[in-house]
Amino acid sequence: MIRQKKFLSVIQHLLLIIMCIIAIFPLYWMINSSFKNDSEIFTASFIPLKPTIANYVYAFSSMPIIRMMFNSFSIAILMTALQLITSLLAGYALVRWKFRGRSFIYTVFSLSWLIPFQAIMIPNYVLINKLGLNEQILGVVLPFAVSTFAILSLYQNFKAFPVALVEAARLDGESDFGILLRVILPNIKSTVASLGILLFINGWNEYLWPTLVTRQLQDEPIQIGLKSFVNSDTNMWGSLMAATTISCLPILIIYLVLQKQVVNSFVRFGIK
């Protein structure tokens, strides 16, 4: 019986290791390739025999990488900030008071993520152009200023918040906004942080809308800027890999530093 258990355990670990390799190998290959020089890049060496940083130099010189990273950051942070603010207010309202239309509004929020972006991209594009916001950060961020996912997640969190604390604050004479700011928020810091991380990652990875709205390379977030590099016919694969490595570095760093947080927040919010 013990032998059978050990055998099963080995098989299990084998399967998992295969999956791990599948998950990580592409990343490894990307980094590996980014350090290979022009002649070595077409070989299948697993470690560059003659490592070089020429690819990175080329990447930095042919694209405004720093500027684009900055764009990505700005877009992601702005989106996250706006989404957090709007969802904190909305979530609070839904839980704190009973009012007419509450369940209707809740349903409206819940259903809105069924709407695919492609169904609203054209009118949004037209509107942004009309407002003259195309090729500006606000134009990229505005349609995403609200995240119903964030609203619903915070709604669940507020619902689980101990009512006694809120009531004690009310008796102390605290205003409604004050309760949100000084009583609830400090106590759900980690939840908001987790949500923020999720929203940031989403903002950083956003694809379709920034593609539509930005035109010049220097306005584009790093992802979109990279895209033109991907499709170019030249064989600058080393440089492409270098640029790609740079582009995902921030997220990878955030992830590795906060991995437990990130994974847990996906779990926590996913279940709800």
Partner: protein, 323 residues
């Protein structure tokens, strides 16, 4: 003292005081009722402007013709867009592809993750966390990053995959993954699936921990082996999560493929890898045929809305909730 107090809080019933009190409390009451709406205003306003109104506009545009040229206005054309849609061969191909992607992603979004979750479930905390962290990495990478890496790996002449396949003797000639109509959509499928596995695995893992261990112990005393326990206990008790992931998968699979299609194949070659969402995008921003794009969008929004309702009903009926 008491006299002044009485002046501030008149207890006597006079004709004036009640009216005075009513007026202030009315104002306070109005503010009180409107408060929640103020808090909700930003969210609702933004949602209205950027999601619901555009949706309605799209439905209207579906019956109009427009080229998005500044200065021109949309012209109503009745059902012409819809007729054009159904007569378009590419459109029909894209529907088939959409189904292909939706069904094809099931192994990546449900089957493999479920198995992975079950297999890692019994493991000790530290190892489990390590596996989880690693599985999740593809999920957090941006589509462009992912596309770039796989573009390089699948490069016909110099990519690692062809080199490896030839070295192992499985093929004799390089496969043009992106320009061969037979392979293009499979590559898209694989690349999209690669990124999805992590998310579902984590979801199922979390759901598994909420299943009471006692059931498994009772079952093993009843004579049930590991396999039987999976079907008799794990699946039924995990059914809410499974139904949820199936719903998500059906509704969103095809959307997940969008970025990869745009970057890697542009829907080709010969429309073999496109799907309905990509066609909408192409019609709108490539061919500048707003009407066609909107018609497709409106049509499929309705289709998916119905699917969502049906799935919702099915899960309520068949999923089991252990309270």
């Amino acid at each position: 003292m008491s006299k002044s107090l009485e002046n501030n809080y008149p207890l006597s019933v006079s004709n004036e005081t009640p009216v005075f009190r009513k007026r202030t409390s009315k104002k306070v009451k109005i503010i009180k009722t409107l408060k929640p709406y103020f808090y909700l205003l930003p969210a609702i306003l933004l949602l209205g402007i950027w999601i619901y109104k555009p949706l309605v506009s799209t439905f209207i545009l579906a019956f109009e013709s427009w080229g998005m040229v500044p200065g021109t206005t949309p012209e109503p054309v009745g059902l012409e867009n819809f007729v054009r849609l159904f007569n378009n061969k590419d459109f029909l191909t894209s529907i088939l592809n959409t189904i292909f992607y939706t069904v094809g992603l099931f192994p990546f979004s449900i089957i493999i993750p479920l198995l992975l979750a079950v297999v890692t479930h019994g493991m000790m905390g530290k190892i489990k966390t390590v596996y989880r962290v690693i599985f999740f990495i593809p999920m957090i990478l941006a589509p462009v990053t992912v596309s770039a890496i796989w573009r390089w790996l699948f490069q016909p002449s110099t990519g690692l995959i062809n080199i490896a396949l030839i070295k192992m003797g499985l093929i004799h000639k390089n496969i043009s993954f992106f320009s061969d109509p037979h392979f293009a959509k499979w590559v898209i499928l694989f690349v999209t699936g690669w990124g999805l596995i992590g998310f579902s695995t984590i979801m199922f893992s979390a759901a598994l921990t909420s299943v009471n261990q006692d059931y498994y112990e009772a079952a093993s005393l009843d004579g049930s082996g590991k396999f039987k326990q999976f079907f008799d206990i794990t699946l039924p008790l995990l059914s809410p999560t499974i139904f949820f992931m199936i719903t998500m998968s059906i509704l969103f699979s095809s959307q997940f493929t969008f970025a990869y299609i745009d970057i890697l194949t542009s829907g080709g070659p010969f429309g073999s890898s496109t799907n309905i969402y990509y066609e909408m995008y192409k019609d709108g921003f490539s061919d500048l045929n707003v009407g066609l794009s909107s018609a497709a969008a409106a049509l499929f929004f309705c289709v998916f809305a119905i699917i969502a309702l049906v799935l919702n009903y099915v899960s309520r009926k068949f999923a089991f909730y252990d309270n």
